[in-house]
């Protein structure tokens, strides 16, 4: 019900439901499906009045959200060396200072599928990559990619550890594979043992 309301009136600021009324039987946790409907209560009567302020809908209705700009890789690589980056992140990795929010305290759940939905940043706390448009995940941008690889073992860090959304984590893994394919990653390879008897020239070949 809430969803169809949003899509039909786009210029109206829709408030989050401030309270959800449940019937008393719903307060105990039970595995039985609830037949009780939830009712949402809005605290202000102004919701149907069109909102013409600058902060209507998204914050950046006319210019477009600057966080969603398409930044080329080369500029991203320059950014990693710049003063702005140093000021923002210092010596820490881009994900180290990020604090993730969990829904209802469910700390076991994976990170969200995508921070950017329908061309907008769809939440208030985007992941470390999505929040900074100058961090472009690319196999050439090794300085960024190497932050998502363990310093000690060379393992790729999980999205749970780094807090990135699933979409960005997939991109990171793909670009890491590309970099590995091009030999740009500093990782070691398993030892190959040779059975010399299988490679030694046989007596037949020495004429």
């Amino acid at each position: 019900m809430l969803r169809c309301f949003r899509s039909s009136i786009s210029a109206v600021r829709v408030l989050q439901p401030s309270s959800v009324i449940h019937h008393p039987g719903h307060l105990q946790t039970s595995s039985k499906p609830s037949l009780v409907t939830k009712r949402y209560v809005f605290t202000t009567p102004k919701m149907l009045i069109p909102d013409t302020s600058a902060n209507s809908g998204t914050q950046f209705a006319e210019e477009g959200d600057p966080r969603l700009r398409d930044i080329p890789v080369e500029i991203s690589m320059k950014y990693m060396e710049s003063a702005a980056y140093q000021e923002t992140y210092g010596e820490a990795k881009v994900w180290e200072l990020y604090r993730r929010n969990y829904a209802n305290g469910r700390t076991y759940q994976p990170t969200r599928k995508n921070c950017i939905r329908g061309g907008k940043i769809a939440n208030g706390n985007p992941c470390p990559i999505c929040r900074d448009e100058y961090l472009v995940v690319d196999h050439q941008n090794l300085k960024l990619l190497n932050q998502f690889v363990s310093d000690y073992s060379g393992e790729i860090l999980t999205s749970k550890k780094t807090g990135v959304c699933q979409h960005q984590w997939m991109k990171i893994r793909v670009e890491l594979q590309k970099a590995k394919d091009k030999g740009l990653l500093k990782i070691d390879y398993p030892f190959v043992s040779y059975d010399y008897d299988k490679y030694r020239p046989t007596k037949q070949s020495i004429a």
Partner: protein, 348 residues
């Protein structure tokens, strides 16, 4: 019984008995090497010779810190263990560590590029047109070495031939995959990308001393030693190291021996000789000249090796065989001057 020969492909009865025959069961799938040219031995026959192996092992050196370095392999690591042991136990553990180190310093075989034997096993005209595609039959019996596995191909025109080269590699990787090896060769091994990586490796050599080793390890993992790309990549890396005198980058690794082999085989060992001289490694110089004599039995150094040794043989090498004779000579001069200075300083 014959079903085990075919990789799950149902072959109709009228051909079954034909294939089940032991006509080629004793056949070895190892490709025969071509006969060597008149006087010069093949790379492989030299590499696997005991004396050559001994010299190359000596030149490689053994540095525990290097051999057992912390490798970032992308797998979970365990914390180090600390133990209290007696002297006897310590000596035993040291010997075991030495054995393990020698195993890790096993040199990847140096061989010539594999040549197709183009051996036709059978040409059955009656089968022609049975299929629009080639059919590959693989013997997936467990325990058979990749190089001895029976892999044959039936062409659409009825020829039955051995699978060779990339076909064999691909089939082996499909049924018995090696961890880390890709079916499609990584773009790294293309000449332009290799050049880029070599350039970066050289730039970062002080912060990343294992750059060359990683590259060569990747090469070993991806290709067989007689694959043309393996040889091409390895030789490019060795030449790069030689051009920039970065021999320490491979010292006490499994690739030092093959690098020395390549340089001596192609008469490009002058800079390496200078490197050893500058470090006062006289025994290494001797070893290098021994190898040179063995690889080039018709050279002046080889004939001098029967009578002369040490500085006399080196002099012959500088005058007759070296490409950069003057450079080695000047280094020797500097060394002798330095020795004279030390002697005059030490004696009052």
């Amino acid at each position: 019984m014959w079903r085990s020969l075919f990789n799950g492909i149902r072959v109709s009865q009228w051909r079954g008995s034909h294939i089940a025959s032991n006509r080629w069961s004793s056949h070895s799938a190892v490709h025969p090497e071509p006969p060597p040219p008149s006087s010069r031995p093949t790379k492989a026959s030299l590499f696997f010779a005991q004396e050559v192996q001994k010299e190359l092992t000596f030149l490689t050196g053994l540095d525990f810190e290097r051999v057992f370095r912390k490798a970032k392999a992308g797998q979970a690591i365990t914390a180090p263990q600390y133990r209290f042991v007696t002297d006897a136990e310590l000596a035993k553990m040291y010997e075991e560590a030495k054995q393990k180190a020698h195993a890790r310093l096993q040199m990847p075989p140096v061989m010539d590029e594999r040549l197709p034997s183009n051996r036709l096993l059978e040409h059955d005209v009656g089968i022609a047109g049975y299929s629009a595609a080639r059919i590959v039959f693989t013997d997936i019996t467990f325990g058979v070495h990749d190089r001895e596995r029976l892999v044959v191909v039936r062409e659409p025109d009825g020829r039955l031939r051995e699978a060779e080269g990339e076909e064999r590699d691909r089939v082996n990787q499909i049924y018995f995959p090696k961890e880390g090896r890709k079916l499609a060769s990584p773009v790294l091994f293309e000449p332009e990308n290799l050049e880029t990586v070599l350039r970066i490796t050289l730039e970062e050599i002080t912060s990343q001393p294992e750059g060359y080793t990683r590259l060569l390890d990747h090469n070993c993992l991806q290709f067989e030693p007689d694959h043309p790309t393996f040889i091409q990549t390895a030789e490019t890396v060795y030449d790069h190291i030689n051009a920039h005198a970065q021999y320490d980058a491979l010292h006490s690794t499994r690739h030092f021996g093959p690098m020395v082999f390549h340089l001596v085989w192609n008469c490009r060992c002058d800079d390496l000789l200078v490197h050893f001289l500058e470090k006062d490694k006289v025994e290494e110089v001797e070893s290098l000249l021994n190898l040179y004599s063995r690889f080039h039995p018709e050279s002046a150094t080889a004939s001098a090796s029967t009578e002369l040794s040490g500085p006399d043989r080196l002099r012959v090498f500088i005058e007759k065989d070296a490409k950069k004779g003057p450079k080695i000579h000047s280094v020797l001069e500097k060394m002798s001057e330095k020795m004279k200075q030390n002697n005059t300083e030490s004696s009052p």
